[in-house]
């Protein structure tokens, strides 16, 4: 799964497969980081207070 694993190979199959995989994971990860991060900032800035 990881390039440091001994089963890893630098060949086309791995590029394509893991390329796609890590790309998707990156988007999910970055997206969520963004959402959570921004939510923290928003909250500190006092947005979205309880009752509206």
């Amino acid at each position: 799964m990881f390039p440091f694993s001994f089963e890893w190979a630098w060949d086309m199959s791995h590029y394509v497969f893991h390329g796609g995989l890590w790309y998707a994971l990156a988007i999910i990860g970055l997206g969520m980081t963004y959402c959570i991060g921004k939510a923290v900032i928003d909250t500190i800035q006092g947005k979205g207070g309880g009752h509206h």
Partner: protein, 412 residues
């Protein structure tokens, strides 16, 4: 107990006791399934009626089927966020919820199905990138993460949770970039739906399911993606309609349903055409080159040729035609028939790709293998249904799943 503080504003829900009663009933079924699940985990897969000829059986079928019908989530998301069919926002929440249930069920079933669940993570850690199943596992898990991300804002929109500023903001932000998640989800879904077809399609030792294709992908790969996109919405519509019947309320406007139905219809028609071509090519070219004729593949009774006809005509042409005709999809009866046939049709396709593949004798001195699932298999397969019912009940009760509900069912 009064849970009115948790119920969304402007909608009416049944009394809590009634709710609890039904949860309880579903819960009993769930517990039965959980019991069977633990039996399988602690005693091993000898609890099932699977055998060396049927290494894949009811569970894998259930897996493929729920994922196929759960395809409504990605395809509605795809249509809503990427194609821009804005009306679908009124059904997308429910599509996401159904998808979430389907995919979590699929993962659960897989966790029971493997012989060594404590080592199941090897599929990731020691991934063989050449295996369709690896692709399934990765995309399935990633897509499940996406579905979770899509489902979370719904939870956060619960009246009480939404009061917490952080959660409110989080939900808001997630909505903001939902298109990106949806796009990722569509990308992942394309691959894992396909690779589920690939799972069977690459088996060159099993001429029944083997298909030629492009690059590493057999035709079954594309047919699976296509069929999931085609029939997933049928299932979304079906569950929505059932929910409407049970709640006694109209929850989604007809134009939304009809739009989805129409798209589904065209997808089904094109899929069926493709499937027909695939079937003919397979019967005329692929199989004979491996020494098989079509009558080799269909035995008597439950594995008879009727299954192919049923899949293509009843599960393909019939619902397709109904849904593409305006009259058909607008008639409540026509819609019901179409979505039910559609869902059965795609489930039948998955059944055939799993069970028939296993049953067809390949070695010249073999016989047709029959298999009847054990109660443990049935219970664990029913488990997700109970779990889905419970999750839908809870979600419907406490979360604003249907944006049009208030409008369609004004209180006072």
């Amino acid at each position: 107990m009064d849970d009115s503080a948790l119920i969304p504003k402007g909608v009416k829900r049944c009394p809590f006791r009634q709710f609890a009663l039904w949860i309880g009933i579903a819960g009993i079924v769930l517990l039965w399934g959980v019991y069977a699940m633990f039996l399988c985990w602690f005693k091993g897969l000898n609890q099932t009626n699977m055998n060396d000829a049927y290494g894949f059986a009811l569970w894998i079928w259930a897996d493929l089927a729920v994922i196929a019908v759960g395809g409504g989530a990605f395809f509605s998301g795809f249509l809503r966020y990427l194609v821009g069919k804005d009306e679908l926002k009124n059904i997308i929440n429910y599509a996401v919820l159904i998808g979430f249930i389907c995919y979590s069920s699929a993962l659960l079933i897989l966790a029971i199905d493997v012989g060594q669940p404590l080592r199941a993570w090897f599929i990731f850690w020691h991934a063989n990138v050449h295996s369709m199943l690896t692709e399934v596992a990765f995309c399935l898990s990633c897509y499940f993460a996406v579905l979770t991300i899509e489902y979370i804002p719904l939870i956060l929109e619960n009246r009480q949770i939404n009061k917490v500023p952080f959660f409110h903001n989080l939900a808001h932000n997630m909505h903001e970039i939902m298109a990106i998640f949806a796009a990722t989800g569509a990308f992942l879904s394309f691959f894992h739906q396909g690779s589920l077809g690939g799972v069977a399609g690459v088996l060159f030792g099993r001429p029944f399911s083997y298909r030629e294709g492009v690059l590493i992908w057999p035709w079954a790969f594309f047919l699976f993606t296509w069929s999931a996109a085609a029939y997933g919405p049928c299932f979304t519509i079906l569950i929505t309609k059932i929910t409407e019947v049970i709640t006694g309320k109209k929850l989604v406007k007809d134009n939304v349903i009809e739009l989805l139905a129409k798209i589904s219809g065209w997808m089904i028609i094109t899929y069926t055409a493709a499937k027909l071509i695939d079937t003919i090519y397979w019967a005329a070219v692929t199989a004979p080159s491996m020494g098989f004729t079509i009558d080799h593949f269909f035995g008597t009774s439950i594995y008879g040729i009727w299954i192919l006809g049923a899949e293509l005509i009843l599960g393909g042409i019939a619902p397709g035609l109904i849904l593409i005709s305006e009259k058909g999809r607008k008639s409540p009866f026509g819609l019901w028939v179409a979505v039910i046939f559609g869902v059965i049709g795609v489930s039948l396709n998955r059944w055939v790709m799993v069970l028939q593949t296993m049953a067809v004798p390949v070695l010249p001195f073999e016989e047709w293998y029959l298999y009847i699932p054990s109660w443990q298999e049935v219970a664990t397969t029913v488990l997700p249904v109970a779990y889905g019912v419970i999750l839908i009940m809870i979600s419907y009760r406490y979360m604003p799943i249907f944006p049009q509900e208030q409008e369609l069912n004004p209180i006072d």
